[in-house]
Symmetry: D2
Subunit: 430 residues, 4 copies
Amino acid sequence: MLPKLTQKQTEVKRLGIPKIDSPLKLSTQISLHSHVLYNPYYQEKNKDRVSFEISIPENKIYFDPKKVTAGIVTCGGICPGLNNVIRAIVLGMHYNYGVSNIYGIRYGLQGFIAKYELPIIKLTPEAVSNIHEIGGTILGSSRGEQPIDEIVDFLEHQNMNILYVIGGDGTLRATERITQEIYARNLKIAVVAIPKTIDNDIAFVHRSFGFETAVDIATQSIQGAHAEATSFPNGIGLVKLMGRHSGFIAASAAIAQRDVNYVFIPEIDFDLDGPKGFLSELKKRMLSKSHAVIVVAEGAGQKFFEKQNQEKDASGNIKLMDIGVYLKDRITRYFKEENIPLNLKYIDPSYLIRSVAANTNDGLFCATLGQNAVHAAMAGKTEVLVSNWHGVYCNLPISLAISQKKTIHPGERLWLNVLESTGQPSFQND
Amino acid sequence: MLPKLTQKQTEVKRLGIPKIDSPLKLSTQISLHSHVLYNPYYQEKNKDRVSFEISIPENKIYFDPKKVTAGIVTCGGICPGLNNVIRAIVLGMHYNYGVSNIYGIRYGLQGFIAKYELPIIKLTPEAVSNIHEIGGTILGSSRGEQPIDEIVDFLEHQNMNILYVIGGDGTLRATERITQEIYARNLKIAVVAIPKTIDNDIAFVHRSFGFETAVDIATQSIQGAHAEATSFPNGIGLVKLMGRHSGFIAASAAIAQRDVNYVFIPEIDFDLDGPKGFLSELKKRMLSKSHAVIVVAEGAGQKFFEKQNQEKDASGNIKLMDIGVYLKDRITRYFKEENIPLNLKYIDPSYLIRSVAANTNDGLFCATLGQNAVHAAMAGKTEVLVSNWHGVYCNLPISLAISQKKTIHPGERLWLNVLESTGQPSFQND
Amino acid sequence: MLPKLTQKQTEVKRLGIPKIDSPLKLSTQISLHSHVLYNPYYQEKNKDRVSFEISIPENKIYFDPKKVTAGIVTCGGICPGLNNVIRAIVLGMHYNYGVSNIYGIRYGLQGFIAKYELPIIKLTPEAVSNIHEIGGTILGSSRGEQPIDEIVDFLEHQNMNILYVIGGDGTLRATERITQEIYARNLKIAVVAIPKTIDNDIAFVHRSFGFETAVDIATQSIQGAHAEATSFPNGIGLVKLMGRHSGFIAASAAIAQRDVNYVFIPEIDFDLDGPKGFLSELKKRMLSKSHAVIVVAEGAGQKFFEKQNQEKDASGNIKLMDIGVYLKDRITRYFKEENIPLNLKYIDPSYLIRSVAANTNDGLFCATLGQNAVHAAMAGKTEVLVSNWHGVYCNLPISLAISQKKTIHPGERLWLNVLESTGQPSFQND
Amino acid sequence: MLPKLTQKQTEVKRLGIPKIDSPLKLSTQISLHSHVLYNPYYQEKNKDRVSFEISIPENKIYFDPKKVTAGIVTCGGICPGLNNVIRAIVLGMHYNYGVSNIYGIRYGLQGFIAKYELPIIKLTPEAVSNIHEIGGTILGSSRGEQPIDEIVDFLEHQNMNILYVIGGDGTLRATERITQEIYARNLKIAVVAIPKTIDNDIAFVHRSFGFETAVDIATQSIQGAHAEATSFPNGIGLVKLMGRHSGFIAASAAIAQRDVNYVFIPEIDFDLDGPKGFLSELKKRMLSKSHAVIVVAEGAGQKFFEKQNQEKDASGNIKLMDIGVYLKDRITRYFKEENIPLNLKYIDPSYLIRSVAANTNDGLFCATLGQNAVHAAMAGKTEVLVSNWHGVYCNLPISLAISQKKTIHPGERLWLNVLESTGQPSFQND
């Protein structure tokens, strides 16, 4: 239904052959892709290209709505939008398909296990009416594994034929095993996952719910750090943000304000010491501009702790160190040695980023994810998760999503934008 | 750099062949696309597929930064993010390319015209430091055409070799003519546009800046309407939202809350009277649920005014009528005739939606659009605008973007989501 | 418990006797009070001064919590914080006094009347857990009178011995009559009111709940108007705000930003025409500054409609006119006649101001009002409302609060602050 | 101008003499005041009562606006609203008095001292136009003392005759000494202070600017803690808030939500161990309710560190300990010993609370404080600060404000409200 275009129509004019070198020295080679397809949808004639199934309500469904008993469970850490997704599933099941037996499982996978004695909660449109206004999950959550067979026992005992799982990497692995057990028992239970990761690090999922809200709150922290840094002589605002394996929150929040001078993420190595290291660069900046804002993702610079931990091993006192606190200490010590006064303010918004209610755009996103999860389940799709790929809602096998982690590639546009925004060098002595 | 996948890996499991009809009766046929490409980037082997050039900073540039004099102009209605885009251009020119001669043109195209005697404004990093915190445009704007040759005269007199234009459909048409005049005079001036439309209705541009902020504010209006509707017996909250030719704001805001019962947009016809018309459906709902929330885009239902205007023509008193007020009056009259008491609250946020500062996610978007506009200009690209297609920033010829309007297609996912959320029928007697 | 002070300790030093006239020409005489008492609490030795009873929990109470059945009703227009007050009453009754029979009356006074067939709602801590996050009232409301004897019949039939009424001037009058009927029947029912008025116009009540939130939203409208006004040549932003008899919202919102140039409120007369009238002053400003922001309370300038209404009377078509639309039309016409181009944007946030959830500070205020209402009721106080006087929570007889309206006095600090902020003259030809 | 009232009119009706004991067992005796004066303003007939001079613009002023050179300085930690106050002073001086020589002193008291070589900044209406939208202070600030005589030298050299000082307790003490030096040199320089304390702990000042914004952000932290606590089995949300000597932020934020179960402030002693200590109470709650929200002001429980510090003294390694971290560790250890699983989330918003821009109500407050500071200075008042007492803006001698600290009294309404909201006992073994 896209209007017809020719390649000629898309070609951009130029004044002439560029003649001089760009002064924009990004610390990374630019590469990757040069063009994006106008029509990125599957077409008969290009059947060799791999594609994802787009999420749509199907005209024929597998389950008789009157015979459906569905369960919803939320697992792992909380994330903005959990309640929105729960609400969307309940409203979609109820209003679009006429399903009325919908139950919430309490406290994540624990809710399936008899010994915890956790009752299930009946979920109705009234019960979920306002839950999208509050953070966390009304169902409760928990971390950790539970025996897969007991989980499937529970589904059998409760006569559930649809299970919605909202969780992250670990939960998706458990869900994968749950589906295997369901197949092994030859049960007709559809299992549909909605991937949850505030770090936005699930593979083959461009955007995860709650991420934009997280960036929103992270940006407020950076604004605070900037206010602190510019309000004092030699002020430094140092912000630690979530991001264990991927720096998406840190990178995105840094671009939004362009008030950030240095960003450190798990994917990109950096040195603190040495002539090209961060500390001497920071010194240069402080002497010329007298303020700086630094953002560090919690998973960045783990290499600094390898030695530390080993050292500590000897004294029998192993402790996972905190890169935020570590940077704060290193910077403070360095400037003391250099005899330069400093006003460093350390800001760690920690749980504040994940415990708020979803913002409007995430609300819209969660609502659509929930709707699509319902369509997938009612059509009898299973072992499936609802993804968003290049802005298109689609269904993926869970196995695919857990086959790897999504991280920021140094050559991709997001990181290049960070480098452009901050102007930071590579911080690597070699 | 995408990991290799096979189609088999992307295939979704199903419990069995669906056997029964879905109760989900959407008033529109579902069609369009079934799969989205995993890799939507251009590849040698599929060179027949049309693609858009991805925005990147190039290693070789056309302009010597020291010799650049750049102008920025904002035209047409205001939109959240205008100041963010101005700021991003200034910061990008200054910090990434070392350009220091950057000027703001006052009050849109009027600023080019001698008779208005409007001075240009020097734009520095300090001058734009906090402007992203406020709505509107610090440069000022205006509507309406201006003589193209005088505009180009101005560029020549000011010795400008880069012009950034931030504006909507009409402005892009003027910009197109400006570039033609520049070619005719054989000048070396790069003209780069950033498309501005709060209605998100520019063709070949998936997302326009300020749109998400607009949806954000629109959603607050809907929350207000919902509070009014549910707080009174037979309460109706009727909200009019921006959207002259396209209902993107109305549709998106309606999905986010799922508290909206009826959405009317310019793209979809509807009847008020008759057995399948909206009024009799609304009556049914009020009798059973006793409250309703209605959202109408300003461009919807224009057919109702064709007659009206003709009538008025005779009395010499032509006035463009307001669909919001019209609906309010029709509903009020209808329920009076039906002898059903009503508490209708009409909410028209009007300019409130476009005059706020950009929210975080729009801030991030504007920052990147501005950066990319700078890269395009410095590389000597011209008659070009910065677009976003399936989440990828890319460059389009302006001529392409003005070749048609973007509207909501009744069969596309966005509208189907609205129908799912509201459960509204087609409101067409035939 | 206030530390002892002598008057001498409070005396402010001055450099010398002021010698010159102040250039600050406020259009109103300054008068009223010169000093505020350090200790504004009642003391034995000044027993002649009138005082209000401070709200406190008493050690001895009238009702046995186990035998209490309480009702809560919300009446009239909605206001930010209604749900917070409901929540605070329920939580206070439950947790502080152990009362468990608490019921919500639906849709205001209608809920008492048999013919409406409205069931009461059981209110528990769980039921009200998150209601403060949403606007409106979960109980519903309605306007208009209902038979007092049927209301008291209802209380008798339901065996209610405490009634909490949340409503405005009209509701307080009805409440007063309800208490008279209760006395006449010799019933032991405590009736406690929490005054509700978004206009902040109830007498002997310094601050009413929801008012600060209303000012908050009103201020956003003014920011929008300012962005519009400054973004266009000869831009005018005209904002109409709530305030039928009192201009508290308009005055307060105008001071907060100091971007407002003219404020019109019901309490202060003004002329549009003539040499000192508003239109000629506005013309002067537009010619010199080329933008203006105007705020008008809905009850201002009603004198302009007296004639209008009389005219309309003849044609049998009386309609209350809208001062916002009237000003918009008059300004537009005037500048057209003066041949000065204009960009006037009219913003009417209407219900948006009253339908939002309470902000934090109002949440705190509502929580305390609700707690104090509970203390008053449990102690057997009746025909009483919870007020706030000079920052102190206190109890007033309802009869006192309805004995007059609270308005802005031209000589009081609030209006003087408006005049200082705007610099506006008196706009009176004589 | 207050309407006449008799005491009889203010008397509240009661159903009868209360007969039974209240179940509301507050851990503190209620006392203090029973009535608030209707008219708390000074009257001739009660001339024996101590009063504060109300802030008003005077008709006669001391300084000739054309000859005024004014300086503004911000000192100490940042606080929401600093820029609003700066803006209000500049706009008031410029528009109300026609003063155009207004300068900002950089980085607090350092800006007066030659060796720091900090230039002053010219402040115009344009320069301060949007600064209220950002946190921090555009002038910069610093902590610590500077030589008083050099400060006065600076004022003399710059020919400044008005100095506005925005700062806290320490700054007010320095200001007091500056005025003494000014008197000693017989200079005619008016020194006016606006008290700044995010903790709201300056004596004889009921409300300090930025406090409500701080409570706003603090409340968001508590909402986050509540979401965490209720989303996990045995979830505890522990929030540390600002408040070195006074717990106003912690107490106010706790009341607003009523989701807080325990509040600890510097003014109220508490035990952790023992039968009535906090830990055993917390255990009881966790076993029955399985979640808890705890708020602790940073200055609370310092007694726990006295021993700790002494211990550390020996090893020569003194470090002020953190009550938040201490509580977290003690709770964690206690529940481990008790063998009860726990999900404790520790949230320390730290600088986030003070670095945001002021909210609307604080904006209104800052605007009025600034206006009043200008009136005081122009009238030649000196050694004075602008206070707010029972909602009335008034002028106090600085000496009075620094004569003591303001703290929460255990018997005052604020703390009683906390006890009512939380239901917490006294936590004191004796």
